[in-house]
Amino acid sequence: MRPRVAFFSFGSCEGCQLQVLSVEDVLPELLSVVEVVNFREAMDDRGDDYDIAFVEGSLVKPDDVAELQQIRARAKILVAIGACACLGGVNAMRNRRPVTELAREVYDGRQDGVFAALPDASPLSSVVQVNYEIRGCPIDRIEFLEAVRSLIAGTVPYVPPFAVCVECTLRGTPCLLERGIPCLGSVARAGCNAVCPAYGAPCEACRGFHEVPNFEALGEAFFRHGMTRTLAAEKLQLFNNYREVREAWEQAVPSSSAT
């Protein structure tokens, strides 16, 4: 029997769901191995009976918590997809300032249509047990399909333990850091096939960190290539600002607020 899968979305751009939909070439094959019962971006039907829940987005509204807990209770396997769901992602950039202050600044004091917000935008794992994570902003479609394949086969998805540099080097991409471009690839987790550097854009560590990130050395690498160590901290805040994620690096990399 095909496992029933459902897709859910919290605070996010829903770009990860779009990545899932971008697998047109294998969509028929995908639908032959799973039954999709809930997928807002793609269908109207809503099913509450599912085996695997793929959840994107971070928790940003008070209602999100109960909703996620309900998904958790129904799903046998809960998979967080994307940087928002796995790390807090870009939403967690707001966590450094009180939400009231931000609301005042952004909405200019207007109340109508402004939804209530949690004090912190947080990853799914801050509230429920997450079985597996498919990281990235957005997720990589090949990695998503590989994860689906592993799950329907009955085992755990493969997660590369090493740095984006490995994939980048093997693609033959000239090192961006060597050109003075602030790239986080040396601390970031691989799995994306280093797609950003291949197009000249530095790695932003949207997939979080590899198994043994050395943040002191990252600062050193920035410094050696003509950049400041504080720039490393600024870059890290983009995707890795959620409290517990931030704890991994903030002692090691001086941030401008600390210096």
Binding site: E29, V33, Y158, C165, T169, N214
Partner: protein
């Protein structure tokens, strides 16, 4: 064959490429953006005979970065059938520096020892190599002269000195002579050209100041005295465990094995891809135990492998002095500096 030095006018390089393309997939250094990369070359393409080395070493043509070991397909009986990929076209490499020629000898020595892989030696046998003399160090981190690879002229069927104007080509194998004959380039170098070559070779060492104060053969003994973790910790603190040093190294040989498959799992491939001792997870076993867990241990392992284990086991030092690992290390961990420190120690 020692004295078979012929003239190859620069514009005849295209004929050489054309001739080789009949039997080989021809690759050479070509400038791409700010860097030089091994690239498929066709007549008319600007072969960069003045290139300051490439990031990825030529071993990619003998043990590809990612290589399909076999394909599999689930048959009607539910069992998988396996199929090895068809033999590929052999490569002709044009413009291989002494460091990388040395590395090809290291690769052969490794693959012809206890190791049971025949893919790499087979490819080395079938390939065609044209070596190229260097006149200046490729990188600030190059120390090829110290490692004895600057003068390395083999394995190469042809070996080229670019003396400005004409190229002088030494024929080193019967196959090399055959190719030169087919290209119609069997005019002996003139006495004047040979004098010019000798003069350049005599003054060449000046451009390559000595960086180590000891012979590379001494490394194994020196390293023996550098076992202690403490000696490695300060340098290893700078290591990002990004693995670039392994991947750009011309003598690294380690690989990982992985499977790719269609969604239903019915078709797929098993591939091997480059990895190395500095890549997280390399020395880990099922269940999570890592037998070489620390950065200091891992860094020491890499240096010991190059400077001690490889000479002891394969008769050749595993470092050619090409300078790639230090150049491409984000924090500039320099094998040259490490060798220097180790060799300096009493």
């Amino acid at each position: 064959m020692d004295n078979e030095i012929y003239r190859l006018p620069r514009e005849r390089l295209d004929s050489l490429i054309e001739r080789l393309a009949r039997d080989y997939r021809v690759v050479g250094p070509v400038k791409q953006g700010a860097t030089w990369m091994w690239t498929d070359v066709r007549p008319g393409m600007p072969l960069a005979l003045d290139y300051p080395t490439t990031m990825l070493p030529p071993r990619q043509f003998f043990a590809p970065m990612r290589e399909t070991l076999f394909r599999y397909h689930r048959g009607d009986d539910g069992r998988f059938a396996f199929e090895e990929p068809a033999g590929e076209r052999p490569f002709a490499l044009l413009g291989v520096h002494g460091c990388d020629l040395t590395a090809l000898r290291v690769l052969r020595a490794f693959h012809e020892s206890s190791c049971r892989d025949r893919l790499v030696p087979g490819r080395l046998d079938r390939s065609f190599v044209m070596g190229l003399a260097c006149w200046t160090p490729c990188l600030p981190e190059s120390f090829c002269r110290d490692m004895g690879s600057l003068e390395s002229e083999s394995p190469a069927s042809l070996y080229v000195w670019d003396i400005g104007g004409v190229l002088l080509v030494k024929v080193q194998t019967a196959r090399g002579r055959e190719i030169m004959r087919d290209v119609g380039a069997l005019d002996a170098a003139t006495p004047d050209e040979l004098v010019a070559l000798r003069k350049r070779l005599r003054t060449r060492p000046e451009a390559f100041p000595a960086q180590l104060q000891f012979a590379p053969e001494k490394l194994a003994t020196s390293l023996k005295a550098a076992e202690s973790d403490i000696l490695w910790e300060a340098t290893a603190d700078r290591c990002l465990s990004c693995g670039r040093c392994n991947l750009v190294c011309p003598t690294c040989t380690c690989f990982d094995v992985g499977d790719q498959a269609s969604l239903s799992g019915g078709d797929g491939t098993r591939t091997r891809s480059w990895t190395g001792c500095q890549v997280p997870g390399f020395s880990r076993v099922a269940g999570g135990h890592d037998f070489r867990p620390g950065r200091a241990q891992q860094l020491r392992y890499r240096i010991f492998r190059k400077g001690k284990y490889m000479p002891e086991r394969y008769g050749m030092v595993g470092c050619t002095g090409c300078g790639r690992c230090a150049t491409h290390c984000p924090t500039h961990i320099s094998i040259r500096e490490i060798f220097l420190q180790v060799g300096r120690a009493p």
